[in-house]
Amino acid sequence: MDFSFTVWIPLLPLILFVFLGLTSGSIRPKISGYIGTAGMTITTLMSYFVAYQYFFNRPAGSETFEKIIAFNTVWLNLTEKLQINLGVLLDPISVMMLVVITTVSLMVHIYSIGYMNGEKGYSRFFSFLSLFSFSMLGLVVATNIFQMYICWELVGVSSYLLISFYYERPTAVAAGKKAFIVTRFADLGFLIGILLLSFVSGTFDFVSLTDPQGALITQGSSLTFMGLSVMTWALVLIFMGGAGKSAMFPLHIWLPDAMEGPTPVSALIHAATMVVAGVYLVARLFPLYVFAAPDALTIVGYVGGITSLFAAVIACTQNDIKRVLAFSTMSQIGYMMLALGVSGYGDHHGLGFMASMFHLFTHAMFKALLFLAAGAIIHAVHSNFMTEMGGLRKYLPITHITFLIACLTIAGIPPFSGFFSKDEILTAAWEHDKFLFFIEYAVAGLTAFYMFRLYFNVFWGKDRHYHHTPHESPLVMTGPLMFLAAASMFTGFIPFSSLVTSDSKPFESHIEWMIAIPSILIGVIGILVAMWFYKKENGISEKMAGGLKHLYKWSYNKFYMDEVYLFVTKKIIFNNISRPAAWFDRHVVDGTMNGIASVTNRTSSGIKGFQSGQLQKYGFVFVSGVIILVFTFIYIWFN
């Protein structure tokens, strides 16, 4: 099977971006929306075709899913060995990601036609969406780590552009800036990691980097730095990049703010696709992590675990529905990281890897659904705050049902997809690290609680009086909701273990009921507590908040992480480094230069004294000079 046409999967959105960007303003906004969506549809269909061909139409007799380089071209030669290629690498995870990205992207495109209707910058929005789709698709099909870095940066920029989409709102501008700078900081780690890795290995290429029999893995790295091998350092730094993009603690602060962007953007970028890039990165380099730097992998697991708990606690107290979802996203990505952290390589050892990818897949569907539904709610109510909502189930029936499905999915209730993927993660965690396992149980309960807190607050509770009666969104918006709801319900039955595995070889996996049943119970308890608290307006929640006053306050303020960062950046870096640097330059460096100049000036004005223009002074100097010279010549020189 010739896959070389796959190069058009990322290229088509790029062409759309350029086209929409250049024609923005000269064609009717509506048309540009349709063009963008049509292009995305073609891309999606191509991705589905590739996935079908790759997974279900593989050459007879082959046990494993081979890595296929469908396309590769030299972009830049760096050294004799190192070169940056642009190409398309197809293997199970990249093909899976193609499906995820194109699906969600298409749904968001369709949804946006309705949601963004009448907004200023409609065509700009679609061109940015295309730019993002291009970069994200380019990222997942990257054949080498540098291509990934390139797309990684592009993804960051499109995220920036889309967060600051409402550029006249100062909060949106600040949020975009924050997102970009925080991820940029993380990317610095990524870059240094790449430099280290390429220095040790002499290649950027994924195929040779992740070859389990490759020289790099079998020999390991003998170089060490501060007690850890250079490989460990490199991989930890690369993970730092991933953690930034995936909003892992403590680089998560940008994600809640990023909700300033339009809601479809949050669904696409900050829920389903871009934020899982970090997970994808670790998965992409997984053999390296497992064999060359198990310490790094442990770090990955623990960072994931801590983040998932941390974010879940915060999510319980937030009132902005998009922020609740944002923290929920963090928590779920923490899950995926954790799953990678507790995974081994090959067969059943690679369960965590498979589970992580599985969860990535299902999470993309249900989280996109949650965001799009939240968008529909905001669209109807014109507010982000759940305190201003209630009783919406009567007005928004379709949104209500789809939202409920998504909540059940994320809470891990069978037979929805979230149950299956989460169960695999728990199983993997149980087999590797009991501590993380129990954290995950706690997080599962919290997840169910905060999601249903949201659900009951919005759709049940007190019926409020709205300025104008909320009404259900048009079909272009509800359609994607229904599609994604269906996906959330049924994708759990996809036999992931025979498709996407750590060593590309299928293996058998089944549900561990001993682990699943308690997890279901915890989920149900969470739901029931939320129901008890929030279904009717009864003040229990306020009492609870009063009882746990400090915890509540800390959680409500997101554990003051923003303030810590603000302190570090504003007080320390801005005031104590940058201001002195500017001062130093103005006064010391420039002052020295000016000082030299003024010394010269003074010297010259001293010399100028001789040059008074007064003949008599000249005469005096001349005559005395002659006398001294004559004296010197006659009595000193010749004697």
Partner: protein, 105 residues
Amino acid sequence: MTAVIPLHYFLIVSTLMFFIGIYGFLTRKNLITILMSVELILNSVNINFVAFNRYLFPGELQGHFFTLFIIAVAAAEAAVAIAIIISVYRRFTNIDVERVDTMKH
């Protein structure tokens, strides 16, 4: 009749006159007195020429003629200098060298 006076007596007189002239040249402020100092200097040189001619090359007249010419040049110089001084005086209403400094700026 002059044989009894050695050459260097003349030279010493002319030297002293020369340096007195220079002293005047350096210290006086009035343009006319500076001009007078210059005349002194010229005179001292003349004495030298004449004395050398008489003592060392009595058969020839180079020093003599040189002195003659110097006197002529001095006359021309004095005429021009005084013309300049007068025009300066008209322009600045004084002839103090330290105050005539328009060219400096």
